[in-house]
Amino acid sequence: MSGKGYDLGLIWAFLANKSEEILELTGQHIVVVIISVLIAAVMGVGAGILVWNKPTGRGFVIAVAGVILTIPSMAMLALMIPSLGLGWVPTVVALSLYSLLPIVRNTIVGLREVSPAVLESAAAMGMTPLKVMFAVQIPIAWPVILTGLRVATQLAVGIAAIAAYVAGPGMGTYIFKGLSMLGAKNALNFALTGTICVILIALVLDAFFILITRITTSRGLRD
């Protein structure tokens, strides 16, 4: 980035000047991702639990979540404006929908990977079906489910940057601002700051997931 007419040293002044706003947008970005992934987790894990052992049901759920992911994000956000307006709401809805596929797919894969002998033993010892699910099957599938959440989070961090298109929260605001004023004095500073912050958010959240995985995975399941 040593383009003609751009002085890298200027970015420090820019950052110092805008630090408060940058922090706020970064915070918004993280919050909107977390809210969306949590909603998607409830829906995705819930759907996974309901359909993991039903071939038609799980085919249907994965197909639907897969189709959602193929809708271009700009189009999805634009489609939401008439009913949901601008701002946080369409952003959260869109991000939740996009996050669904990795979560629901990994939930189904994880639950199906639990050995039938283990499930049979659990039932034969007198666990109720609910107890088998929550005390045996989900804990064993947990690392796989977490991986789904992690992938969904990365996906959401990236797509959240585009939510600025519907006046959504987050670092996308800077990227869009930069792009819309190309050639102006601070255009590159805005775009660059926005992009780098998004990458940093992704790295930080990923590190957080590695930590959570370490802490919450039974030693008996680690290789």
């Binding site: 050995s115 002998a117 049979e120 033993s121 659990a122 039932a123 007198g126 666990m127 045996v136 008996g220």
Partner: protein
Amino acid sequence: MIKTTSTSGVGITLENVSKSYNSSAPAAVDNFSMNINPGEFIMLVGPSGCGKTTTMKMINRIIEPTSGKIIIDGQDVLSLNPSFLRRNIGYVIQQIGLFPHMTIAENISVVPNLLGWSKDKTADRVEELLALVELDGGSFARRYPKELSGGQQQRVGVARALAADPPVMLMDEPFGATDPITREKLQLEFLRLQESMHKTIVFVTHDFDEALKLGDRIAVLSAGSQIVQFDTPANILSNPANEYVSSFIGQGAALKSLALIDVAQAKLLPASAATSSPHSVATFDNLRTALDRVVLAGGHPVAVLDEAERVVGAIGIEEISDALGADVRNLSPEKAV
């Protein structure tokens, strides 16, 4: 630490029990009836696919019967809540099915926890059971299943099934996946446990020698879980109902019978008849061991020692053969080959 009192077995009755997995195929279990006495160790033996597992799993309703009645201790199991029913039935399968995310102690605590035992009582029981299956020491309690050998995992499987001291145990080829030496050891240990526990056990195997070694009675099954013969090991060896049963017994019925009879049951020669060979046999050994020693002694009688290692007599080929004849009157020479 080892518990001396435990809940002993209760009777089990299966009445015209059938199971069809799908209506086009013949029933996997066809009209099966059996009466099992309290504390009895029952073996179900038969070829692959004959319906042994299906029959056994209907007792704790892992598989629901298509028709028929199953009564445990006077109660119709089909009228009970399956989860509550199963907490009183120990269950051990070949694949073991330990919970990989739980420690050994947590695995063993599953049923006690379901039954609402206190922490202290459960912890004491875990310690007691680990001692019982010879896994005390070595911090086994805090290890995870993957940190144990196959044989050790199977012991944990047995301990877990015994945790809440159920009167009934269902075992589906529990030792089938272990090597022959480990299997033999596990069999003997389990037999020793059963001597003090007197559980009612339904044990599935396709190893007839295992059935002979462990069972009080053996049910030889054919396709559709049809009972071809249901009798004590000695009676099945001496009186196989038909060719089918004989084919299960295989070669060496006489030798297998000898393994079931103690030296104490044979008429002994006076002690003076023993040769001066260093070989001897104990009263609590079986006649197969006695025969082994006699052969080693060049075919001459060997001394018989009691528990205090005093010579109480001698035993030779003829005494062994007579004991077999007395116990197994109908063992004809050609069957004895």
